[in-house]
Protein backbone atom coordinates (compact mmCIF):
# COMPACT_ATOMS: atom_id res chain seq x y z
CA UNK A 1 0.00 0.00 0.00
CA UNK A 2 1.50 3.32 -0.97
CA UNK A 3 1.24 6.39 1.14
CA UNK A 4 -0.41 8.17 -1.76
CA UNK A 5 -3.45 5.95 -1.39
CA UNK A 6 -3.65 6.88 2.27
CA UNK A 7 -3.56 10.64 1.84
CA UNK A 8 -5.95 10.57 -1.07
CA UNK A 9 -9.01 8.58 -0.14
CA UNK A 10 -11.51 8.34 -2.98
CA UNK A 11 -13.95 11.24 -2.66
CA UNK A 12 -17.42 10.23 -1.54
CA UNK A 13 -19.89 10.09 -4.38
CA UNK A 14 -23.51 10.44 -3.54
CA UNK A 15 -26.50 12.67 -3.27
CA UNK A 16 -24.99 14.64 -0.41
CA UNK A 17 -21.86 15.43 -2.37
CA UNK A 18 -23.76 16.42 -5.47
CA UNK A 19 -26.02 18.66 -3.41
CA UNK A 20 -23.02 20.18 -1.70
CA UNK A 21 -21.17 21.02 -4.90
CA UNK A 22 -24.40 22.27 -6.44
CA UNK A 23 -24.84 24.61 -3.49
CA UNK A 24 -21.22 25.69 -3.71
CA UNK A 25 -21.73 26.72 -7.31
CA UNK A 26 -24.95 28.53 -6.41
CA UNK A 27 -24.17 30.75 -3.41
CA UNK A 28 -27.59 32.41 -3.68
CA UNK A 29 -29.30 29.08 -3.11
CA UNK A 30 -26.97 28.32 -0.21
CA UNK A 31 -27.88 31.67 1.30
CA UNK A 32 -31.54 30.96 0.72
CA UNK A 33 -31.25 27.62 2.50
CA UNK A 34 -29.60 29.31 5.48
CA UNK A 35 -32.13 32.12 5.64
CA UNK A 36 -35.36 30.26 4.97
CA UNK A 37 -36.02 29.16 8.55
CA UNK A 38 -34.94 32.23 10.54
CA UNK A 39 -36.51 34.69 8.12
CA UNK A 40 -39.64 32.59 7.92
CA UNK A 41 -39.87 32.49 11.68
CA UNK A 42 -39.18 36.14 12.40
CA UNK A 43 -41.06 37.35 9.34
CA UNK A 44 -44.17 35.26 9.74
CA UNK A 45 -44.41 34.55 13.45
CA UNK A 46 -43.07 37.80 14.79
CA UNK A 47 -43.59 40.55 12.23
CA UNK A 48 -46.86 38.88 11.24
CA UNK A 49 -48.05 39.09 14.84
CA UNK A 50 -47.06 42.73 15.05
CA UNK A 51 -49.09 43.36 11.88
CA UNK A 52 -52.09 41.61 13.42
CA UNK A 53 -51.72 43.80 16.50
CA UNK A 54 -51.42 46.95 14.44
CA UNK A 55 -54.48 45.97 12.45
CA UNK A 56 -56.56 45.25 15.55
CA UNK A 57 -55.96 48.83 16.68
CA UNK A 58 -58.34 49.79 13.87
CA UNK A 59 -61.10 47.39 14.86
CA UNK A 60 -64.23 48.02 16.89
CA UNK A 61 -65.18 46.62 20.25
CA UNK A 62 -68.81 45.69 20.78
CA UNK A 63 -69.68 47.70 23.92
CA UNK A 64 -72.09 45.03 25.20
CA UNK A 65 -70.24 41.76 24.59
CA UNK A 66 -66.64 43.07 24.59
CA UNK A 67 -66.20 41.08 21.39
CA UNK A 68 -63.95 42.42 18.67
CA UNK A 69 -65.92 43.52 15.61
CA UNK A 70 -63.87 43.58 12.43
CA UNK A 71 -64.89 46.95 11.09
CA UNK A 72 -62.27 49.56 10.40
CA UNK A 73 -62.50 52.60 12.62
CA UNK A 74 -60.31 55.30 14.14
CA UNK A 75 -62.38 55.39 17.35
CA UNK A 76 -59.67 53.72 19.43
CA UNK A 77 -57.14 56.39 18.57
CA UNK A 78 -59.73 59.10 19.17
CA UNK A 79 -60.49 57.65 22.58
CA UNK A 80 -56.83 57.57 23.55
CA UNK A 81 -56.25 61.10 22.34
CA UNK A 82 -59.36 62.52 23.98
CA UNK A 83 -59.71 60.75 27.32
CA UNK A 84 -57.36 62.66 29.67
CA UNK A 85 -56.59 59.55 31.72
CA UNK A 86 -54.68 57.97 28.83
CA UNK A 87 -52.61 61.09 28.33
CA UNK A 88 -51.96 61.38 32.05
CA UNK A 89 -50.80 57.78 32.31
CA UNK A 90 -48.57 58.08 29.23
CA UNK A 91 -47.04 61.24 30.61
CA UNK A 92 -46.47 59.65 34.04
CA UNK A 93 -44.80 56.65 32.38
CA UNK A 94 -42.48 58.75 30.24
CA UNK A 95 -41.57 60.88 33.26
CA UNK A 96 -40.84 57.72 35.25
CA UNK A 97 -38.68 56.34 32.42
CA UNK A 98 -36.75 59.59 32.34
CA UNK A 99 -36.16 59.72 36.11
CA UNK A 100 -35.14 56.05 36.19
CA UNK A 101 -32.66 56.71 33.38
CA UNK A 102 -31.12 59.66 35.23
CA UNK A 103 -30.83 57.65 38.46
CA UNK A 104 -29.26 54.70 36.66
CA UNK A 105 -26.73 56.96 34.92
CA UNK A 106 -25.76 58.65 38.20
CA UNK A 107 -25.36 55.33 40.02
CA UNK A 108 -23.63 53.54 37.16
CA UNK A 109 -21.01 56.17 36.47
CA UNK A 110 -18.80 55.86 39.58
CA UNK A 111 -18.87 52.07 39.40
CA UNK A 112 -18.11 51.99 35.67
CA UNK A 113 -15.39 54.60 36.06
CA UNK A 114 -13.83 52.69 38.93
CA UNK A 115 -13.94 49.47 36.89
CA UNK A 116 -12.42 51.03 33.78
CA UNK A 117 -9.83 53.42 35.20
CA UNK A 118 -8.92 52.55 38.79
CA UNK A 119 -9.33 48.82 39.41
CA UNK A 120 -6.53 46.36 38.69
CA UNK A 121 -7.22 43.98 35.78
CA UNK A 122 -8.02 41.20 38.23
CA UNK A 123 -10.48 43.29 40.23
CA UNK A 124 -11.92 44.56 36.98
CA UNK A 125 -12.77 41.05 35.78
CA UNK A 126 -14.33 40.24 39.13
CA UNK A 127 -16.41 43.41 39.00
CA UNK A 128 -17.61 42.68 35.47
CA UNK A 129 -18.87 39.31 36.69
CA UNK A 130 -20.33 40.95 39.78
CA UNK A 131 -22.38 43.30 37.60
CA UNK A 132 -23.33 40.60 35.10
CA UNK A 133 -24.64 38.02 37.54
CA UNK A 134 -27.55 40.02 38.96
CA UNK A 135 -28.45 41.00 35.41
CA UNK A 136 -29.44 37.40 34.85
CA UNK A 137 -31.00 36.73 38.24
CA UNK A 138 -34.72 36.46 37.71
CA UNK A 139 -36.47 39.73 37.00
CA UNK A 140 -39.52 38.67 38.97
CA UNK A 141 -37.49 37.59 41.99
CA UNK A 142 -35.75 40.96 42.03
CA UNK A 143 -39.04 42.84 41.83
CA UNK A 144 -40.47 40.58 44.54
CA UNK A 145 -37.41 41.18 46.74
CA UNK A 146 -38.14 44.90 46.57
CA UNK A 147 -41.80 44.35 47.39
CA UNK A 148 -40.58 42.66 50.57
CA UNK A 149 -37.94 45.29 51.31
CA UNK A 150 -40.33 48.20 50.83
CA UNK A 151 -43.18 46.88 52.96
CA UNK A 152 -44.14 48.57 56.23
CA UNK A 153 -42.29 45.91 58.25
CA UNK A 154 -39.55 45.45 55.66
CA UNK A 155 -35.81 45.97 55.93
CA UNK A 156 -35.84 49.54 54.64
CA UNK A 157 -38.22 50.85 57.26
CA UNK A 158 -36.37 48.78 59.87
CA UNK A 159 -33.15 50.58 58.90
CA UNK A 160 -34.83 54.01 58.84
CA UNK A 161 -36.65 53.55 62.13
CA UNK A 162 -33.70 54.35 64.46
CA UNK A 163 -33.26 57.61 62.54
CA UNK A 164 -36.88 58.48 63.21
CA UNK A 165 -37.71 58.24 59.51
CA UNK A 166 -40.39 56.34 57.65
CA UNK A 167 -40.61 55.57 53.93
CA UNK A 168 -43.88 54.80 52.25
CA UNK A 169 -42.43 52.17 49.91
CA UNK A 170 -45.62 51.23 48.09
CA UNK A 171 -45.67 54.44 46.10
CA UNK A 172 -44.42 55.96 42.86
CA UNK A 173 -41.13 56.79 44.61
CA UNK A 174 -40.84 53.15 45.66
CA UNK A 175 -41.42 52.06 42.07
CA UNK A 176 -38.75 54.48 40.91
CA UNK A 177 -36.29 52.72 43.25
CA UNK A 178 -37.36 49.31 41.96
CA UNK A 179 -36.94 50.27 38.30
CA UNK A 180 -33.58 51.89 39.02
CA UNK A 181 -32.49 48.69 40.67
CA UNK A 182 -33.81 46.42 37.93
CA UNK A 183 -32.21 48.23 35.01
CA UNK A 184 -28.96 49.46 36.62
CA UNK A 185 -26.70 46.73 35.15
CA UNK A 186 -27.99 47.62 31.67
CA UNK A 187 -26.47 51.06 32.21
CA UNK A 188 -23.23 49.99 33.93
CA UNK A 189 -22.04 47.70 31.15
CA UNK A 190 -22.25 50.09 28.16
CA UNK A 191 -20.79 52.97 30.21
CA UNK A 192 -17.94 50.72 31.35
CA UNK A 193 -17.29 49.60 27.78
CA UNK A 194 -17.40 53.24 26.64
CA UNK A 195 -14.92 54.37 29.29
CA UNK A 196 -12.59 51.50 28.53
CA UNK A 197 -12.47 52.48 24.88
CA UNK A 198 -11.10 55.96 25.62
CA UNK A 199 -7.37 55.81 24.83
CA UNK A 200 -5.13 56.63 27.77
CA UNK A 201 -3.08 58.85 25.45
CA UNK A 202 -5.98 61.30 25.07
CA UNK A 203 -6.12 61.85 28.82
CA UNK A 204 -2.35 62.23 28.95
CA UNK A 205 -2.47 64.73 26.11
CA UNK A 206 -5.05 66.72 28.00
CA UNK A 207 -2.84 66.71 31.10
CA UNK A 208 0.21 67.73 29.04
CA UNK A 209 -1.74 70.65 27.67
CA UNK A 210 -2.36 71.79 31.24
CA UNK A 211 -5.81 70.32 31.82
CA UNK A 212 -6.33 69.46 35.46
CA UNK A 213 -8.14 66.24 36.25
CA UNK A 214 -11.51 67.92 36.61
CA UNK A 215 -11.05 69.78 33.33
CA UNK A 216 -9.95 66.60 31.60
CA UNK A 217 -12.97 64.80 32.98
CA UNK A 218 -15.43 67.47 31.91
CA UNK A 219 -13.93 68.30 28.51
CA UNK A 220 -12.47 64.96 27.36
CA UNK A 221 -13.90 61.97 29.23
CA UNK A 222 -17.50 63.10 29.55
CA UNK A 223 -18.08 64.03 25.88
CA UNK A 224 -16.44 60.79 24.76
CA UNK A 225 -18.50 58.58 27.06
CA UNK A 226 -21.78 60.38 26.45
CA UNK A 227 -22.86 58.15 23.52
CA UNK A 228 -22.37 55.12 25.78
CA UNK A 229 -24.66 56.68 28.39
CA UNK A 230 -27.26 57.25 25.67
CA UNK A 231 -26.82 53.62 24.60
CA UNK A 232 -27.49 52.47 28.15
CA UNK A 233 -30.44 54.81 28.42
CA UNK A 234 -32.12 53.06 25.49
CA UNK A 235 -32.55 50.04 27.73
CA UNK A 236 -33.49 51.83 30.94
CA UNK A 237 -35.99 53.91 28.99
CA UNK A 238 -37.52 51.18 26.86
CA UNK A 239 -37.73 48.61 29.66
CA UNK A 240 -39.52 51.07 31.95
CA UNK A 241 -42.04 52.06 29.28
CA UNK A 242 -43.56 48.64 28.76
CA UNK A 243 -43.32 47.08 32.21
CA UNK A 244 -46.51 46.04 33.96
CA UNK A 245 -45.28 43.52 36.53
CA UNK A 246 -43.09 45.71 38.74
CA UNK A 247 -45.73 48.48 39.02
CA UNK A 248 -48.35 45.94 40.04
CA UNK A 249 -46.07 44.73 42.83
CA UNK A 250 -45.40 48.03 44.56
CA UNK A 251 -48.02 50.61 43.64
CA UNK A 252 -51.60 51.06 42.59
CA UNK A 253 -50.64 53.92 40.27
CA UNK A 254 -51.30 53.14 36.63
CA UNK A 255 -48.65 53.12 33.92
CA UNK A 256 -48.88 52.42 30.18
CA UNK A 257 -48.07 48.74 30.69
CA UNK A 258 -50.54 48.22 33.53
CA UNK A 259 -53.32 49.96 31.59
CA UNK A 260 -52.73 47.78 28.51
CA UNK A 261 -52.62 44.70 30.71
CA UNK A 262 -55.88 45.65 32.41
CA UNK A 263 -57.90 46.44 29.31
CA UNK A 264 -56.67 43.96 26.70
CA UNK A 265 -59.08 41.26 27.79
CA UNK A 266 -62.17 43.42 27.36
CA UNK A 267 -61.03 45.97 24.79
CA UNK A 268 -58.24 44.54 22.67
CA UNK A 269 -58.50 47.25 19.97
CA UNK A 270 -58.04 50.03 22.52
CA UNK A 271 -55.15 48.14 24.12
CA UNK A 272 -53.56 47.66 20.71
CA UNK A 273 -53.92 51.35 19.91
CA UNK A 274 -52.44 52.28 23.27
CA UNK A 275 -49.53 49.86 22.71
CA UNK A 276 -48.53 52.06 19.80
CA UNK A 277 -47.69 54.83 22.28
CA UNK A 278 -44.61 53.12 23.80
CA UNK A 279 -43.61 51.90 20.33
CA UNK A 280 -43.76 55.45 18.98
CA UNK A 281 -41.84 56.85 21.96
CA UNK A 282 -39.12 54.21 21.61
CA UNK A 283 -38.78 54.63 17.87
CA UNK A 284 -38.46 58.39 18.41
CA UNK A 285 -35.91 57.77 21.14
CA UNK A 286 -33.92 55.42 18.91
CA UNK A 287 -33.83 58.03 16.14
CA UNK A 288 -32.48 60.64 18.57
CA UNK A 289 -30.00 58.08 19.92
CA UNK A 290 -28.78 57.37 16.42
CA UNK A 291 -28.12 61.06 15.84
CA UNK A 292 -26.10 61.06 19.08
CA UNK A 293 -24.07 58.13 17.71
CA UNK A 294 -25.17 55.84 20.52
CA UNK A 295 -25.40 52.72 18.36
CA UNK A 296 -21.66 52.64 17.85
CA UNK A 297 -21.41 52.22 21.63
CA UNK A 298 -23.51 49.08 21.80
Amino acid sequence: MTSVAVVEPPPRRGAGRRLSSFLYRHPRLRLGALLALPVGWLGIVYLGSLAVLLLSAFWKTDPFTSQVVRELTLDNFREIAERPVYREVAWRTVRMAFLVTVACALLAFPLAYYMARVASPRTRNLLVVAVLMPLWASYLVKAYAWRTLLSEEGAINWALDPLGLHFNGYSTTGLWLVFTYLWLPYMVLPVYAGLERIPQSLLEASADLGGRSLTTFARVTLPLVFPAVVAGSIFTFSLTLGDYIAPSLVTSDQFVGTVIYRIYGTALPTAAAYALVPIAVIVGYLLVARRLRAFESL
Binding site: P11, R12, G16, L19, S20, L34, L35, L37, W41, L42, G43, Y46, L47, G48, S49, L50, A108, P110, L111, Y114, R117, V118, P121, R124, V128, A130, V131, L132, P134, L135, A137, S138, Y139, L140, V141, K142, Y144, A145, T148, E153, W158, Y181, L184, P185, Y186, L189, P190, Q200, S213, F235, L239, G242, Y244, L249, Y264, A272, A275, P278, I279, L298
Partner: protein
Protein backbone atom coordinates in the same frame (compact mmCIF):
# COMPACT_ATOMS: atom_id res chain seq x y z
CA UNK B 1 -2.31 59.72 34.40
CA UNK B 2 -3.54 58.22 37.67
CA UNK B 3 -6.48 59.89 39.34
CA UNK B 4 -5.75 61.95 42.49
CA UNK B 5 -6.01 60.04 45.74
CA UNK B 6 -9.16 61.74 46.95
CA UNK B 7 -10.89 60.99 43.63
CA UNK B 8 -9.85 57.36 43.85
CA UNK B 9 -11.20 57.13 47.38
CA UNK B 10 -14.52 58.67 46.40
CA UNK B 11 -14.76 56.42 43.35
CA UNK B 12 -14.08 53.36 45.47
CA UNK B 13 -16.78 54.48 47.87
CA UNK B 14 -19.26 55.12 45.06
CA UNK B 15 -18.50 51.79 43.42
CA UNK B 16 -18.88 50.00 46.75
CA UNK B 17 -22.22 51.66 47.44
CA UNK B 18 -23.56 50.78 44.00
CA UNK B 19 -22.46 47.17 44.41
CA UNK B 20 -24.12 47.04 47.82
CA UNK B 21 -27.28 48.43 46.24
CA UNK B 22 -27.11 45.65 43.64
CA UNK B 23 -26.45 42.78 46.03
CA UNK B 24 -28.22 43.58 49.32
CA UNK B 25 -31.77 42.93 48.02
CA UNK B 26 -30.70 39.56 46.61
CA UNK B 27 -29.06 38.68 49.91
CA UNK B 28 -32.13 39.68 51.89
CA UNK B 29 -34.52 37.67 49.73
CA UNK B 30 -32.12 34.72 49.96
CA UNK B 31 -32.26 34.91 53.76
CA UNK B 32 -36.05 34.98 53.76
CA UNK B 33 -36.02 31.44 52.37
CA UNK B 34 -34.76 30.34 55.79
CA UNK B 35 -37.40 32.31 57.69
CA UNK B 36 -39.31 30.05 60.11
CA UNK B 37 -42.35 32.34 60.35
CA UNK B 38 -45.02 33.08 57.82
CA UNK B 39 -44.86 36.85 58.36
CA UNK B 40 -42.33 38.75 56.30
CA UNK B 41 -41.19 41.17 59.00
CA UNK B 42 -37.53 42.19 59.09
CA UNK B 43 -35.30 41.26 60.87
CA UNK B 44 -35.88 37.51 60.66
CA UNK B 45 -36.16 36.10 64.19
CA UNK B 46 -36.09 32.32 63.72
CA UNK B 47 -34.31 30.44 60.99
CA UNK B 48 -35.26 26.98 59.74
CA UNK B 49 -35.15 24.73 56.70
CA UNK B 50 -38.78 23.81 57.14
CA UNK B 51 -40.11 25.57 54.03
CA UNK B 52 -37.71 23.82 51.71
CA UNK B 53 -39.53 20.56 52.44
CA UNK B 54 -42.92 22.19 52.05
CA UNK B 55 -41.92 23.72 48.71
CA UNK B 56 -40.47 20.42 47.52
CA UNK B 57 -43.73 18.59 48.25
CA UNK B 58 -45.89 21.31 46.69
CA UNK B 59 -47.57 19.88 43.60
CA UNK B 60 -48.14 23.23 41.89
CA UNK B 61 -44.49 24.24 42.27
CA UNK B 62 -43.36 20.99 40.69
CA UNK B 63 -45.78 21.30 37.78
CA UNK B 64 -44.67 24.88 37.18
CA UNK B 65 -40.99 23.94 37.38
CA UNK B 66 -41.53 21.08 34.95
CA UNK B 67 -43.35 23.34 32.49
CA UNK B 68 -40.59 25.95 32.76
CA UNK B 69 -37.92 23.34 32.07
CA UNK B 70 -39.79 21.98 29.05
CA UNK B 71 -40.40 25.49 27.70
CA UNK B 72 -36.75 26.38 28.27
CA UNK B 73 -35.52 23.28 26.47
CA UNK B 74 -37.91 23.75 23.54
CA UNK B 75 -37.15 27.43 23.15
CA UNK B 76 -33.40 26.83 23.46
CA UNK B 77 -33.52 24.11 20.80
CA UNK B 78 -35.43 26.30 18.36
CA UNK B 79 -33.25 29.31 19.11
CA UNK B 80 -30.10 27.26 18.49
CA UNK B 81 -31.27 26.23 15.02
CA UNK B 82 -32.66 29.63 14.00
CA UNK B 83 -29.86 31.67 15.58
CA UNK B 84 -27.07 29.57 14.07
CA UNK B 85 -28.58 29.65 10.58
CA UNK B 86 -29.12 33.40 10.74
CA UNK B 87 -25.62 34.09 12.03
CA UNK B 88 -24.05 31.90 9.31
CA UNK B 89 -25.94 33.83 6.66
CA UNK B 90 -25.00 37.21 8.13
CA UNK B 91 -21.34 36.36 8.77
CA UNK B 92 -20.53 34.63 5.49
CA UNK B 93 -22.69 36.43 2.91
CA UNK B 94 -23.27 39.93 1.65
CA UNK B 95 -26.77 40.43 0.29
CA UNK B 96 -29.64 42.84 -0.09
CA UNK B 97 -31.74 43.01 3.08
CA UNK B 98 -28.90 41.97 5.37
CA UNK B 99 -29.43 45.00 7.61
CA UNK B 100 -33.15 44.27 7.76
CA UNK B 101 -32.46 40.77 9.05
CA UNK B 102 -30.08 41.91 11.79
CA UNK B 103 -32.77 44.41 12.76
CA UNK B 104 -35.53 41.77 12.76
CA UNK B 105 -33.47 39.50 15.02
CA UNK B 106 -33.03 42.24 17.62
CA UNK B 107 -36.53 43.70 17.39
CA UNK B 108 -38.29 41.14 19.65
CA UNK B 109 -36.16 42.30 22.57
CA UNK B 110 -35.92 45.96 21.63
CA UNK B 111 -39.69 46.45 21.74
CA UNK B 112 -41.35 46.32 25.16
CA UNK B 113 -42.27 42.76 26.16
CA UNK B 114 -45.91 43.71 26.54
CA UNK B 115 -46.08 44.59 22.83
CA UNK B 116 -44.57 41.26 21.80
CA UNK B 117 -46.86 39.40 24.19
CA UNK B 118 -50.01 41.19 23.12
CA UNK B 119 -49.16 40.75 19.43
CA UNK B 120 -48.55 37.02 19.81
CA UNK B 121 -51.71 36.57 21.82
CA UNK B 122 -53.89 38.44 19.35
CA UNK B 123 -52.45 36.33 16.53
CA UNK B 124 -52.80 32.99 18.27
CA UNK B 125 -56.36 33.77 19.30
CA UNK B 126 -57.48 35.23 15.97
CA UNK B 127 -55.68 33.11 13.42
CA UNK B 128 -54.76 29.85 15.12
CA UNK B 129 -57.70 29.53 17.48
CA UNK B 130 -60.15 28.79 14.64
CA UNK B 131 -57.91 25.94 13.39
CA UNK B 132 -57.82 24.38 16.83
CA UNK B 133 -54.49 25.60 18.24
CA UNK B 134 -54.85 26.49 21.90
CA UNK B 135 -52.59 28.20 24.40
CA UNK B 136 -50.13 25.96 26.18
CA UNK B 137 -46.58 24.64 26.07
CA UNK B 138 -46.38 25.05 22.29
CA UNK B 139 -47.33 28.71 22.31
CA UNK B 140 -45.03 29.41 25.28
CA UNK B 141 -42.14 27.92 23.30
CA UNK B 142 -43.01 29.97 20.23
CA UNK B 143 -42.95 33.17 22.27
CA UNK B 144 -39.71 32.36 24.05
CA UNK B 145 -37.89 31.16 20.93
CA UNK B 146 -38.71 34.46 19.24
CA UNK B 147 -36.68 36.50 21.71
CA UNK B 148 -34.08 33.79 22.51
CA UNK B 149 -32.84 33.70 18.89
CA UNK B 150 -30.85 36.89 19.39
CA UNK B 151 -28.81 35.44 22.25
CA UNK B 152 -27.61 32.46 20.21
CA UNK B 153 -27.22 34.67 17.16
CA UNK B 154 -24.98 37.15 19.00
CA UNK B 155 -22.75 34.47 20.47
CA UNK B 156 -22.30 32.52 17.25
CA UNK B 157 -21.86 35.66 15.13
CA UNK B 158 -19.13 36.93 17.46
CA UNK B 159 -17.34 33.59 17.12
CA UNK B 160 -17.76 33.43 13.33
CA UNK B 161 -16.23 36.88 12.98
CA UNK B 162 -13.12 35.57 14.71
CA UNK B 163 -12.83 32.45 12.55
CA UNK B 164 -11.70 32.61 8.96
CA UNK B 165 -14.08 31.64 6.17
CA UNK B 166 -11.04 30.35 4.30
CA UNK B 167 -11.05 27.30 6.59
CA UNK B 168 -14.42 26.28 5.15
CA UNK B 169 -13.07 26.70 1.64
CA UNK B 170 -9.94 24.72 2.48
CA UNK B 171 -12.17 21.95 3.78
CA UNK B 172 -14.15 21.95 0.54
CA UNK B 173 -10.94 21.93 -1.49
CA UNK B 174 -9.83 18.86 0.42
CA UNK B 175 -12.96 17.09 -0.68
CA UNK B 176 -15.40 17.53 2.19
CA UNK B 177 -19.07 18.11 1.41
CA UNK B 178 -21.10 20.82 3.20
CA UNK B 179 -22.18 18.52 5.99
CA UNK B 180 -18.65 17.23 6.60
CA UNK B 181 -17.31 20.79 6.63
CA UNK B 182 -19.91 21.76 9.18
CA UNK B 183 -19.37 18.65 11.28
CA UNK B 184 -15.57 18.53 11.29
CA UNK B 185 -14.46 22.13 10.67
CA UNK B 186 -17.12 24.63 11.63
CA UNK B 187 -18.83 22.89 14.55
CA UNK B 188 -15.66 22.34 16.63
CA UNK B 189 -14.94 26.06 16.34
CA UNK B 190 -18.48 27.02 17.28
CA UNK B 191 -19.03 24.45 20.01
CA UNK B 192 -18.38 26.65 23.05
CA UNK B 193 -20.19 29.61 21.47
CA UNK B 194 -23.22 27.40 20.87
CA UNK B 195 -23.11 26.08 24.42
CA UNK B 196 -22.79 29.58 25.85
CA UNK B 197 -25.66 30.78 23.66
CA UNK B 198 -27.79 27.82 24.69
CA UNK B 199 -27.17 28.42 28.39
CA UNK B 200 -28.02 32.10 28.07
CA UNK B 201 -31.12 31.36 26.01
CA UNK B 202 -32.26 28.86 28.61
CA UNK B 203 -31.71 31.35 31.42
CA UNK B 204 -33.64 33.98 29.49
CA UNK B 205 -36.53 31.63 28.85
CA UNK B 206 -36.57 30.28 32.39
CA UNK B 207 -37.02 33.76 33.89
CA UNK B 208 -39.37 35.29 31.36
CA UNK B 209 -42.78 36.42 32.53
CA UNK B 210 -43.87 39.52 30.61
CA UNK B 211 -44.41 37.78 27.27
CA UNK B 212 -45.23 34.40 28.82
CA UNK B 213 -48.35 35.63 30.62
CA UNK B 214 -49.84 36.42 27.21
CA UNK B 215 -48.95 33.12 25.56
CA UNK B 216 -49.43 30.54 28.32
CA UNK B 217 -53.21 30.42 28.57
CA UNK B 218 -54.11 28.75 31.87
CA UNK B 219 -50.70 27.08 32.25
CA UNK B 220 -48.25 28.30 34.85
CA UNK B 221 -44.50 28.50 34.33
CA UNK B 222 -42.44 29.00 37.47
CA UNK B 223 -42.34 32.83 37.22
CA UNK B 224 -46.10 32.92 36.56
CA UNK B 225 -46.68 30.65 39.54
CA UNK B 226 -44.60 33.03 41.68
CA UNK B 227 -46.46 36.06 40.38
CA UNK B 228 -49.82 34.45 41.11
CA UNK B 229 -48.76 33.21 44.55
CA UNK B 230 -46.96 36.22 45.94
CA UNK B 231 -50.25 38.03 46.45
CA UNK B 232 -51.31 35.26 48.90
CA UNK B 233 -49.63 36.08 52.24
CA UNK B 234 -49.92 32.54 53.64
CA UNK B 235 -47.90 31.04 50.78
CA UNK B 236 -45.07 33.58 50.87
CA UNK B 237 -42.63 31.21 52.63
CA UNK B 238 -42.87 28.85 49.64
CA UNK B 239 -42.39 31.76 47.26
CA UNK B 240 -39.23 32.70 49.17
CA UNK B 241 -37.77 29.21 48.77
CA UNK B 242 -38.63 29.16 45.06
CA UNK B 243 -37.10 32.64 44.70
CA UNK B 244 -33.78 31.44 46.13
CA UNK B 245 -33.90 28.38 43.90
CA UNK B 246 -34.61 30.48 40.80
CA UNK B 247 -31.75 32.89 41.57
CA UNK B 248 -29.31 30.00 41.87
CA UNK B 249 -30.66 28.20 38.82
CA UNK B 250 -30.47 31.24 36.54
CA UNK B 251 -27.13 32.56 37.75
CA UNK B 252 -25.18 29.30 37.55
CA UNK B 253 -25.63 28.75 33.79
CA UNK B 254 -24.63 32.35 33.19
CA UNK B 255 -21.48 31.87 35.21
CA UNK B 256 -20.74 28.75 33.17
CA UNK B 257 -21.49 30.60 29.93
CA UNK B 258 -19.19 33.48 30.76
CA UNK B 259 -16.37 31.00 31.46
CA UNK B 260 -17.11 29.20 28.18
CA UNK B 261 -17.14 32.42 26.22
CA UNK B 262 -13.48 32.69 27.04
CA UNK B 263 -12.68 34.05 30.48
CA UNK B 264 -11.57 37.55 29.53
CA UNK B 265 -13.43 40.53 30.94
CA UNK B 266 -14.14 41.95 27.51
CA UNK B 267 -15.76 38.76 26.28
CA UNK B 268 -17.87 38.63 29.38
CA UNK B 269 -19.07 42.10 28.60
CA UNK B 270 -19.95 40.77 25.15
CA UNK B 271 -21.95 38.00 26.79
CA UNK B 272 -23.61 40.60 28.96
CA UNK B 273 -24.30 42.75 25.95
CA UNK B 274 -26.35 39.89 24.59
CA UNK B 275 -28.57 40.16 27.62
CA UNK B 276 -28.42 43.92 27.52
CA UNK B 277 -29.65 43.68 23.98
CA UNK B 278 -31.93 40.96 25.14
CA UNK B 279 -33.41 43.63 27.23
CA UNK B 280 -35.02 41.32 29.22
CA UNK B 281 -37.67 41.16 29.13
CA UNK B 282 -37.88 41.29 28.15
CA UNK B 283 -37.32 40.89 30.66
CA UNK B 284 -36.74 40.48 30.77
Amino acid sequence: MPEPRLTRLLLRLGAGLTLAFIYLPLLVIGLYAFNERVTQAWPIRDYSLRWFGVAWRDESVRDALWLSLLAGLGATGLALVLGTLASLAIARHRFFGREAITFAVILPIALPGIVTGLALQATIKDLLGPVGVGFGLGTIIVGHATFCVVVVYNNVLARLRRTAGSLDEASADLGADSWQTFRYVLFPQLRTALLAGALLAFALSFDEIIVTIFTSGAQQTLPIWMYATLFRPDDLPIVNVVALFVILLSVLPVYAASRLAGGGGVEQVAAGAAKVEAGAASAP
